[in-house]
Symmetry: C2
Subunit: 628 residues, 2 copies
């Protein structure tokens, strides 16, 4: 490992953009059927090959006449014309209209020879073999001349035109069956790593396998940017295999993207392949998280190596690669891809390189957009859905002030701020209640952290267990009780009776994290027991094997029990019942939903309040041990 490559000379973001812009990933134009052309971009100008309409056309239902025969006609003194026949739309006229004659005609029908105007039906009256015309029409009235709409030879749409429904309509009028459009760049996606398994396949966690996140996420990003993604099999760190896959991808694609290739050995292999088969233009960009980025060519194709962590990969893809794909496909930058927002809290920064700071979005009560930083480490997949985009913070920026306006580059033009942002305790009834709201976002950070964030004013609401906290200026929207205790194997084979068994017996226990309200309830019960026994809390917790073993979600300890990895876990009666496990009750705790006082007028908060009023009761009845 000592000879591994180091990124000593990082390029600037501008150099990275230039390097990618210098690559040619524009495919040949292609011809697509008109029915499939929506969203594509015309590769060539389209001139009309025919007149629209192709004939002099009646534009009203009525009677085709010679205009001069109606001169002077009015309600009082109609002109009487002889009926000589009828012309329907879509048929060749079988009549001619002579002097003092008229033919019944439908909108869209061919004007019969001799006629030069149409009298609308409302101003006429049929009388036997003749028609009374109660108005005068001039030659040309209610007739659309051949070519009056579009004339053969006219320039109708220029190259570079994006085809939306209306252009499809115009091309239909011209009878166009297929149109020449800019090709979709074919983008090969190669995720590297021996540990990757494609979603849907079986996973062997013991062997360190994980599902491949980047392939499908980047493929979706490629599609969104107008490219045609092509997934390749995962490449391991074996040189031969990786060379074979990269070479195959380079043969078939306009652009090859690799990701997950940040381990030293994988980087080494990719370096070798590029140096042998192509040209490395740039390695490492001075932007967090772009350090492991590679740009080059592979055979005749363009190549970009993305970081392996999902948020990093998507950030670099969105910032540097997607614009190049859109450009190659002839698509404009989507207007909704970047939005302005005010920073909800200060963010300090001092890394000496540009940072793509992941941020989440929300709206205040006035609908103004706010951004707050999301930083769970770029390795966390959940950051993907907690962050809505990134803010580019320049290397020489020491901090971004609260209230400062920033540009947020969204991960997708389809990303929208949630209707309401909540933080706090992980709770199944709450999760169920949120399902009835439109696009809420809820971060299960625990009661303690939830209250801290509410105090800082960022979220719209917090959910916390325990008694009302006078420190916090918040409006309680609702509350309910939940029963908690020890989740044990089905039938409680170890006959766990309560907390004392945990302390006195050699049971493997799984706790929740210290931010969790459940953990606080347990700590309080331990403190009571210590008081009762005249000992310290610390002594008791030390005696519980696993008291410090904090599991992430409210079901996690119970699932450890289910998996036979623990004898007891901190949890809810509802969870034990859901998973078919035993339960030893230790008490109840109140769960409170607290609104940020500055957001009580916000629509999402009002919707939450209404849901708590109207929908909480039926939700609680679905979970054992929950009550108002």
């Amino acid at each position: 490992m000592s000879d591994r490559k180091e990124f000593r000379d990082l390029s600037s973001p501008e150099e990275a953009r230039e390097a990618i812009a210098s690559l040619n990933l524009t495919p040949e134009p292609e011809e697509v059927p008109l029915a499939d052309a929506r969203g594509r971009t015309l590769a060539e100008r389209i001139d009309a090959a025919l007149d629209v309409p192709g004939f002099d056309r009646a534009s009203m239902d009525g009677y085709a006449v010679r205009g001069r025969d109606t001169f002077g006609a009015d309600e009082a003194d109609p002109a009487s014309l002889d009926l000589v026949g009828t012309v329907h739309a879509g048929e060749e006229p079988s009549v001619e209209v002579g002097e003092s004659e008229a033919a019944e005609i439908s909108t869209g029908a061919v004007m019969p020879a001799g006629a030069d105007a149409v009298v609308m039906v409302e101003r006429t009256e049929e009388k036997g073999d003749s028609v009374l015309v109660r108005t005068a029409v001039a030659p040309g009235d209610h007739v659309m001349l051949a070519g009056a709409d579009v004339a053969a030879g006219e320039r109708t749409l220029g190259p570079g035109t994006r085809l939306t429904p209306r252009e499809i309509g115009l091309l239909s009028a011209l009878g166009v069956e297929s149109v020449p459009v800019r090709g979709k760049p074919v983008v090969g996606i190669v995720s590297t790593g021996d540990e990757l398994v494609r979603p849907g396949d079986d996973l062997d966690s013991g062997a360190g396998q994980i599902y491949d996140v980047n392939s499908y996420a980047i493929a979706a990003g490629v599609e969104e940017a107008g490219g045609d993604p092509e997934l390749y099999p995962h490449a391991g760190d074996d040189y031969g295999e990786m060379e074979r896959i990269l070479r195959e991808a380079a043969d078939d694609c306009d652009l090859v993207l690799s990701s997950g290739s940040t381990s030293a050995s994988a980087v080494d292999v990719i370096y070798q392949v590029i140096e042998e088969r192509g040209e490395l233009l740039l390695h490492g960009v001075s932007v967090k998280p772009g350090k492991p980025m590679l740009v080059g060519t592979l055979g005749g194709s363009a190549y970009v190596g993305l970081p392996g962590y999902p948020v990093s990969a998507l950030t670099i893809f969105r910032t540097f690669v997607a614009p190049a794909i859109r450009n190659a496909a002839g698509l404009p930058d989507p207007e909704t891809a970047t939005v302005e927002a005010r920073m909800a809290a200060e963010e300090r920064y001092s890394e000496g390189r540009t940072r793509m700071l992941p941020v989440g979005l929300l709206e205040d009560a006035d609908g103004e957009r706010l951004a707050y930083t999301v930083d769970k480490g770029s390795g966390a997949t959940t950051s993907l859905v907690e962050a809505d985009g990134v803010v580019e913070v320049h290397a020489d920026t020491a901090y971004v002030a609260a209230g400062e306006t920033v540009e947020v580059e969204l991960f997708s033009p389809d990303v929208r701020p949630p209707s309401v942002l909540g933080v706090g305790e992980d709770d199944p009834a709450l999760a169920q209640l949120l399902d009835s709201l439109d696009r809420p976002r809820y971060l299960s950070v625990g009661s303690r952290e939830g209250l801290r964030r509410l105090r800082n004013g960022v979220p719209d609401f917090a959910v916390a267990t325990g008694d009302a906290n006078p420190d916090i200026d918040a409006l309680e929207l609702g509350s309910y009780e939940r029963e908690w205790g020890l989740v044990v194997p089905a039938g409680n084979p170890a006959e766990v009776g309560g907390l004392t068994d945990l302390v006195e017996r050699d049971l493997r226990f799984v706790n929740r994290g210290s931010d969790s309200g459940l953990r606080t309830s347990l700590a309080n019960a331990v403190a009571d027991l210590a008081d009762e026994r005249g000992t310290t809390r610390h002594e008791l917790t030390d005696a519980i094997a696993g008291f410090e073993l904090a599991a992430k979600a409210h079901e996690s300890p119970a699932r450890k029990v289910l998996a036979g990895q623990a004898d007891a876990g901190l949890g809810l009666r509802a969870t034990a019942e859901k998973l078919g496990l035993g339960f030893v009750s230790l008490g109840t705790e109140r769960v409170r939903v607290l609104a940020n006082p500055e957001r009580v007028e916000k629509a999402g908060v009002r919707d939450l309040e209404a849901a708590l009023d109207e929908k909480l009761e039926p939700v609680l009845s679905e979970f054992s041990g929950f009550s108002r």
Copy 2:
């Protein structure tokens, strides 16, 4: 025809919205592969079925150790640990790490039993069978615990979540192979009219056939709104056929749209079918152009009848139908579907019903959006691409003032204002030059109308023939000359020698419209001839058969000659050569490109100026009879 249905009681736009909202067009949810799920909306909440990661995972390349073995270690006094093996990502560890031992480990690998922390490789040095560790790590450092990212049982995505690349990433991490999403409403499209021919098929203009514009345009709109369009064969006005098609569509689709059914007989048939097979909720909406709109049910499906004219059909579709399709598909209203703009000129209005006023968009020099009315009659297909959307003008509005801010409902969220808007003379060299610009819009309204519009300040530039006009405050960006005359059949079999032949011989002539610069040049030549002969212009033009026969585009008269329908047409030498026809030169005229003085700083105008400077020469050289 006397008993045709009349729309006596028009409903309000609100009633129309309510009627459509009352229809059920929401399809069943469906399960789609993750790879196809982008852009869809989750039908159900997704909870994590597994922990992510599924094992305690090294988050750095380095050495797996027991943290306590490194306590006190630093650069000066490293801890020396015995190397017991290596763990790669994607393999089951074959070693355990005991006291004072270390195992080499890759990012993403499973932590071997016994180890509780990772020392990053940069702070170590291998020495034979041992490794020197130059820093202290605490238990848990650089290790991501099982379930720390996502814990099994956690609520990860709620119902109603739009799936963008990042959600696809999160679902990938959960190993999800397919996801339950809101179904796409299947929308059957039935264009009615005996005269319709599908694009790509042969057209018999003599029999009054025209290409069907609405089917493909509405289908593209359905797709854009998240529906799944299904095109049905054109239905004629025959009751049996239309009933069969409508019934088949109702059986297969969630919503049936008909269009082009505005002729009296077609409306009668549709009425009958709906009255027999479904329920008519509403006929006729008090909005121009919604008068012929129908809303009802057909069997168990929803039904909406759209107007037949393309701009009208798309307007009603966009305003009333697309929101219902999006709602059924679970998609949000696109943010770019409505934009604000200032009216570029006053628009008077007095129709007593709401009007959807078609407008085009452009930007002024400061990038502010302007709207100008486009009104060529709703029957004109070209309005489709000249108008970008509609402004809803209420029934009691007498006029919309110039400068007033209006909301423009775009025909598609992908519609964008052109980079530059030009109006004026139809000219092939200009059209070619425009192809080199990015998204220009050019309306061939003729020199006279172009100058009139430039005077009113709406367009960015105008193109006109003839001498500089001192009335107009404009900046000339460039000019060139073109040779004009009479286009005659190849070889000039009638031996047309010039204007005198037109006047003196019985030749069928085709002229251009009176706004055209070519027509002005011809009129001037006729005036000169009249002077020469001591007669009046009028007498000469009366002697030319077809002098008043105005054709739309610069090629149109020549094409009439080509089709054998005329003996001579007004045109350019370049057109005659392009079509392989003969040409009798009558002179040259100067074509001038004039900028709106308030837009000279606009990027699109500067681009046009640069193109005139740099690209005009090569463009002119492609056309005979053109010169600087």
